[in-house]
């Protein structure tokens, strides 16, 4: 879900109200953030029970520590930082081979003396922003396959609509590092969607 300016205004208003002691404002914050926090936690942990616990714990933190947030406009980076830390706590102790082990390199475009191989244009086959259930399932699976350091950036930047600066704050990375990881993550997801939408069996655009 991209950040809608209207939603953000309402969110900032709700955060301000909660900071001044209006507990009813939590309902509005919950309505605007629960879905996106749940999806983020689900993709980060890969486990619905963990994701549910993370969202619960994030909202407990919001209730208890909202007074420590200086700028209501920084609410989203703040809650996603909390969510991220909780997700990594859940992941700690899990065997590494349970996580994605895919090689990004296999999904990057290939070049021959600087020239790209054939690339099929499937952009007209789906309406912008329109996701069929089947396509959503493939997109979801592609995001889940990303190594976690790339997945977290794509989730924050493209799925949640945080700015590069905000995503960098959440992940402790420079803007340049965010952009570098995001670009590779997008290319990976794009290639996965290409394979599904064009029925291509190869892992990347090949030079012919």
């Amino acid at each position: 879900m991209a950040r809608n300016p209207q939603n953000t205004d309402t969110l900032i208003e709700a955060v301000t109200r909660l900071q001044s002691g209006d507990k009813a404002a939590l309902e509005s914050i919950l309505e605007q953030c629960q879905e996106r926090l749940y999806y983020y936690a689900l993709k980060m942990t890969g486990n619905p029970a963990d994701a549910e616990e993370v969202v619960q714990e994030v909202f407990v933190t919001v209730l208890e520590k909202i007074g420590t947030l200086r700028e209501p406009g920084s609410f989203l980076p703040w809650v996603f930082t909390t969510a991220k830390n909780l997700c990594f706590l859940k992941l700690r102790g899990r065997r590494k081979d349970q996580d994605a082990t895919v090689s990004l390199e296999d999904y990057m475009p290939r070049f021959n003396r600087g020239h790209i191989g054939a690339v099929e244009d499937w952009s007209d086959r789906v309406e912008s922003g329109a996701l069929s259930k089947e396509l959503a399932r493939h997109l979801d699976a592609a995001i889940q396959k990303l190594p976690i350091e790339y997945r977290e950036i794509l989730l924050l930047r493209d799925v949640q609509g945080l700015s590069a600066e905000e995503a960098g704050k959440v992940c402790g990375l420079s803007v340049a590092a965010v952009k570098s990881r995001l670009h590779r993550a997008r290319l990976f997801v794009r290639e996965n969607l290409s394979q599904y939408l064009t029925g291509a069996g190869t892992k990347q655009a090949s030079w012919e």
Partner: protein
């Protein structure tokens, strides 16, 4: 025959474009700035010129952009209704405890 001609046209366009300025490899490297609107105007012009000659890079840019657009909607309706209800109940209890 038509496909062969198309392939030759695409390949030649790509080579001419590279000879004039930006290669496909450099273009893909700069694509994030182009799509996010952070690329300097001079580079943007070079990429626009390349797109006119290279159908493959144009396809790459369009599908890259479409990937971003699709990603924006992927989290909608991901939360099961029972999880939503449990969360509401949980928070009501937390508020009452305080």
């Amino acid at each position: 025959m038509f496909n062969l001609l198309k392939k030759v046209r695409d390949t030649l366009g790509c080579w001419f474009s590279a000879a004039r300025g930006v290669s496909c490899e450099e273009l893909v490297r700069l694509l994030i700035g182009y799509v996010d609107g952070t690329l300097p105007a001079e580079d943007r012009t070079r990429l626009d010129a390349h797109f006119k000659d290279c159908a493959h890079c144009l396809s790459m840019m369009r599908t890259y952009r479409q990937t971003i657009d699709l990603s924006r909607g992927v989290s909608n309706n991901s939360m099961p209704s029972e999880v939503r209800l449990r969360l509401q109940r949980f928070l009501k209890e937390k508020i009452q405890e305080r």
